[in-house]
């Protein structure tokens, strides 16, 4: 396998950031609901 193998991963980056946004919003809502 080439060390240089370098394929774009834009969709994974977007998935990671969307998942994080969902977790942050979910935690915020959860905290508000049960405080």
């Amino acid at each position: 396998m080439s060390v240089e193998r370098d394929t774009p991963m834009t969709s994974i980056y977007i998935q990671v950031l969307v998942l994080e946004a969902i977790i942050v919003v979910a935690l915020w809502v959860f905290g508000r609901m049960f405080s």
């Binding site: 991963m9 980056y13 994080e20 942050v24 905290g31 049960f34 405080s35």
Partner: protein, 559 residues
């Protein structure tokens, strides 16, 4: 701890070490020893990245923090996924194509030897001290819990860790880390399941959540912008982003993990694994801490979880006062349990406040009696729960996981210290043209040396609370500045060696000044300040001073 639990501890620790060594290939060559011949799969690298960051302190201190304050510590990691994306796009392809052993080696390719040496020196000093603390903090807790002396506990962690890191190099570290991550996830999940089972014997799950929420422990996200609050969404998103960029992008203990990956793609995938898993994993640990709090609403907790001074205080002049506090505590715990069972929110919160007050008074008595101003019991909450409420076998597994976490985090750091010492100093400045076998032997000696150094620091630091704090803060003094230098190196063509070198020094001076003259600024912001100053000063000097002939600005075109 029963004999079977001890058997589990010894068997588990023995297995991860033997198997880690068995999987180590080509460790008779320097590239195999330090970088696994750049052959590790992405999932092993990703798990190793997380295990190196997650020390035993993460398990014992984070659960204790969640027990006391709730989920808000999760905000420390909010910047991590974005940092992983940025690093995948920037430093990963640069470092991998440059075929470097250390992150700082790249700074010489881009700037000059003195910038590389300064950056590597800052890493060595900071990491060597923090390695001692990484070992000392769990050793103090485990020595109390297991009834061992501190030197014996430190040696129990250090001796196997130094042995497998010295013999197997980065591969032994990585394969040990892989098992470690599985065992931590399994152990924490099992602890959460047992906690939930214990709680629903007394109240419904919904009521348990309401009880935790009533005390504010479920408020994970704080959107207020406040420079003095350590953990807010913004300090995590901005300060934490810079911290994670520095730690994962400029700290050799992390860079070395993904330099050992098979390709750029695999290195990126390893960081993406961290981006996906880190926050949920950290949440699992924090939730365990919150559940321990709810669990102890229905089971009598000790007044103080760190009971190392109990006998001494009972026999001393404060014995009567301490006994009276214990009596008040027992009564108040009964009142709190009654209010929690009835779901009487007002009575529960009032009782919880009184319990907190009694615990604070008891801790104050301990401080007066022992002269230990830094006494607290936060780190003892989860180990106490483990050893008193988990079933046989699982106790051993969790204690083994804490030991293995201490070893895996330290092993990665030890391995990176040896690499920076040999590659950035010994081979660069002292013995520049020796054989591969010579550098391999030197790397093994350096690993042993740093291991021994860490043991000594650990034994000394364990009794120096203020030293631990200084070392913990040290990282924030230089991480942001290091990040600034790498920003100059990777994102700008115009930056010169003089700009990078003096920018790095300026960044550190400014951060130190801010830290000591404006102590109200939370430490996460130091990373932002350091990086900004280095870039500003570095670019200013780069525009004013001409580029020297020895600089390699064309490195941009070749990478």
């Amino acid at each position: 701890m029963r004999p079977f639990d001890w058997f589990v501890v010894v068997a588990y620790v023995g297995w991860i070490i033997v198997d880690g060594l068995r999987r180590s290939k080509h460790t008779d060559q320097i590239e195999g020893y330090l970088l696994a011949s750049r052959s590790l799969p992405w999932w092993a690298v990703g798990l190793s990245v997380m295990a190196t960051q997650m020390s035993a302190v993460t398990i014992v201190a984070t659960t204790g923090l969640a027990y006391s304050t709730g989920l808000r510590f999760i905000q420390n990691y909010i910047g991590l996924p974005l940092a992983m994306v940025i690093l995948s796009l920037t430093v990963v392809p640069f470092f991998t194509r440059a075929r470097v052993y250390t992150a700082y080696e790249y700074l010489e390719q881009r700037f000059d030897a003195r910038t590389r040496s300064l950056a590597s020196f800052l890493f060595l000093v900071g990491r060597a001290m923090s390695l001692g603390v990484t070992l000392a903090a769990p050793a103090v807790v485990m020595s109390t819990i297991l009834g061992w002396t501190l030197p014996v506990t430190v040696l129990a962690i250090c001796v196997p860790m130094i042995a497998y890191t010295t013999i197997g190099g980065v591969q032994a570290v990585a394969w040990t880390d892989v098992k470690q991550m599985f065992i931590v996830v399994f152990g924490m999940s099992a602890a959460v399941a047992i906690l939930l089972y214990g709680i629903v014997q007394h109240v419904s799950l919904g009521q348990a959540i309401h009880l935790a929420g009533a005390t504010g422990r479920l408020q994970a996200i704080d959107f207020r912008f406040n420079l003095t609050e350590t953990y807010t969404f913004w300090s995590g998103m901005i300060g934490g982003l810079f911290l994670m960029l520095s730690y994962f992008g400029c700290d050799q203990s992390q860079v070395q993990r993904y330099l050992s990956a098979k390709s750029i793609d695999e290195a990126r995938q390893s960081l993406m694994l961290t981006a996906y898993v880190k926050i949920p994993l950290q949440l699992l640990i924090l939730v365990a801490g919150v559940l321990v709090f709810v669990f102890y609403l229905f089971q009598a907790p000790p007044m103080l979880f760190n009971r190392v001074h109990d006998a001494e205080i009972a026999a001393g002049p404060q014995g009567a006062q301490y006994a009276a506090l214990q009596q008040s505590f027992d009564q108040e715990i009964a009142t709190r349990r009654d209010a929690a069972t009835r779901d009487d929110r007002a009575a529960f919160l009032a009782s919880e406040a009184r319990v907190r007050d009694i615990r604070a008074q008891a801790a104050s008595v301990v401080r007066q009696a022992t002269g230990d101003d830094r006494y607290n019991d936060v780190n003892y909450v989860f180990p106490t729960f483990i050893t008193t409420h988990l079933p046989i076998g699982l106790v051993g597994l969790m204690i083994a996981a804490i030991f293995a976490a201490a070893m895996s985090a330290s092993g990665g750091e030890l391995n990176s210290l040896a690499t920076a010492t040999i590659i950035d100093f010994y081979r660069r400045h002292f013995v520049t043209d020796a054989s591969d076998a010579h550098y391999l032997l030197a790397s093994k000696l350096a690993t042993s040396f740093w291991g021994l150094f860490a043991c000594i620091v650990a034994m000394y630091a364990a009794n120096q609370g203020s030293l631990i704090e200084v070392v913990n803060r040290y990282g924030s003094f230089f991480y942001g500045s290091l990040l600034g230098v790498f920003i100059l190196a990777i994102l700008t063509r115009r930056a010169t060696a003089a700009g990078a070198f003096w920018g790095l020094i300026s960044g550190m001076i400014v951060v130190l000044t801010v830290a000591f003259t404006l102590p109200w600024i939370a430490f996460l912001w130091h990373n932002v300040i350091g990086a900004a100053v280095v870039v500003a000063v570095g670019m200013t000097i780069s525009f004013v001073a001409p580029r020297s002939d020895s600089e390699h600005s064309d490195v941009f075109d070749t990478l």
